[in-house]
């Protein structure tokens, strides 16, 4: 399943542009190339994971502030760390030349969570299921190595449902 990595492909594209520019200065670089659909897919996956991290952070805070939510908060914080690892590994595949890099990711704000711990866990379970389903759809046409990473992340998120439910039921 060897394939050129995203990093290699983007580096090659940038090198090609510079080669064509020769010594005519930066103006000769011409218009910005379009961002490929694969990069857009990757950006969407990163944004979704960042939103998940923000949601878990909010959930952990709410649970820790509640009277008997310390144990649940610890479980939620542990899963949050896994989502942060997802962000890091996905971001490692996104290497854009400075001219193409967005000024910032427009990660959405997490939706308000229910007030009670049962509702919070239920909301996180729904988010995990939706995330796994979304990744399963996105990976169908992604570059092979990214598809494998997305499949692994989706599997991790599907299993989070079990850990959340177990913690919520205890």
């Amino acid at each position: 399943m060897a394939e050129p990595t995203r990093r290699v492909m983007l580096a090659a594209a940038a090198a090609g542009s510079l080669g064509l520019a020769g010594c005519k200065g930066i103006a000769a670089l011409g218009p910005l190339p379009n961002i490929s659909p694969d990069v857009v897919t990757l950006e969407h996956a990163i944004e979704a994971e960042e939103l998940m991290v923000a949601t878990y952070r909010a959930a952990a805070g709410q649970l820790a502030a509640s009277g008997n939510g310390q144990r649940l908060s610890a479980v939620v914080t542990a899963i949050q760390a896994e989502h942060q690892a997802h962000v890091t590994r996905l971001r490692a595949r996104l290497v854009l030349p400075p001219r193409l890099a967005r000024t910032k990711f427009a990660a959405g704000r997490p939706s308000p969570l229910p007030a009670d711990s049962h509702g919070i866990i239920g909301a996180l379970v729904a988010d995990e299921r939706a995330a796994a389903a979304r990744l399963t759809s996105q990976l169908l046409h992604a570059p092979p190595a990214l598809a494998q990473l997305m499949a692994s992340i989706a599997a991790s998120e599907a299993a989070h449902v079990i850990y959340l439910r177990r913690a919520g039921a205890a």
């Binding site: 690892a85 092979p144 190595a145 692994s152 991790s156 299993a159 079990i162």
Partner: protein, 140 residues
């Protein structure tokens, strides 16, 4: 041609893990009783069905499914219910890893099969007591 060869190889890898899981769950179930035995029996059937489906997919692509071994070297010895659960975890995580190559083949239907199979195996592993991990099936 190369893509088809790669696809059949990926299917063979998943088939081998499903064959091993089908065998291994027989050992798991032998050490369990009651509800846990019923769960193991149901999980065993899932793997047997996946094994049969993968066999058909390989044949439909002109391949020859590798035969299952008569017996498998299990990763751990099983002498207790705790061992049985640990073996089930190991079997499921092996299944997760075995589908990773299939998630990268050109056919999106097979990618979907790989992804959903990985998710279901990961869920079963979690139910049998696996620790959560951020990248199941991939090298750390």
């Amino acid at each position: 041609m190369a893509a088809r060869t790669g696809t059949v190889a990926a299917l063979q890898a998943a088939l081998a893990a499903e064959q091993a899981a089908s065998y291994g769950y027989g050992v798991v179930g032998a050490h369990l009783r009651g509800a846990a035995f019923n769960v193991a029996s149901a999980d065993c059937i899932v793997h047997e069905r996946a094994r049969d489906a993968l066999t058909r997919l390989i044949i439909s692509r002109g391949g020859t499914p590798r035969a299952a071994a008569a017996a498998y070297q299990l990763p751990i010895g099983v002498t207790s219910t705790a061992d049985a659960a640990k073996l089930a975890v190991d079997l499921e995580l092996e299944v997760v890893a075995s589908y990773v190559d299939l998630a990268a083949v050109p056919d999106p239907r097979l990618r979907a099969l790989a992804a959903t199979s990985m998710q279901k195996a990961c869920v079963r592993a979690a139910r049998w007591g696996a620790k959560s991990q951020p990248f199941p099936g991939l090298a750390p």
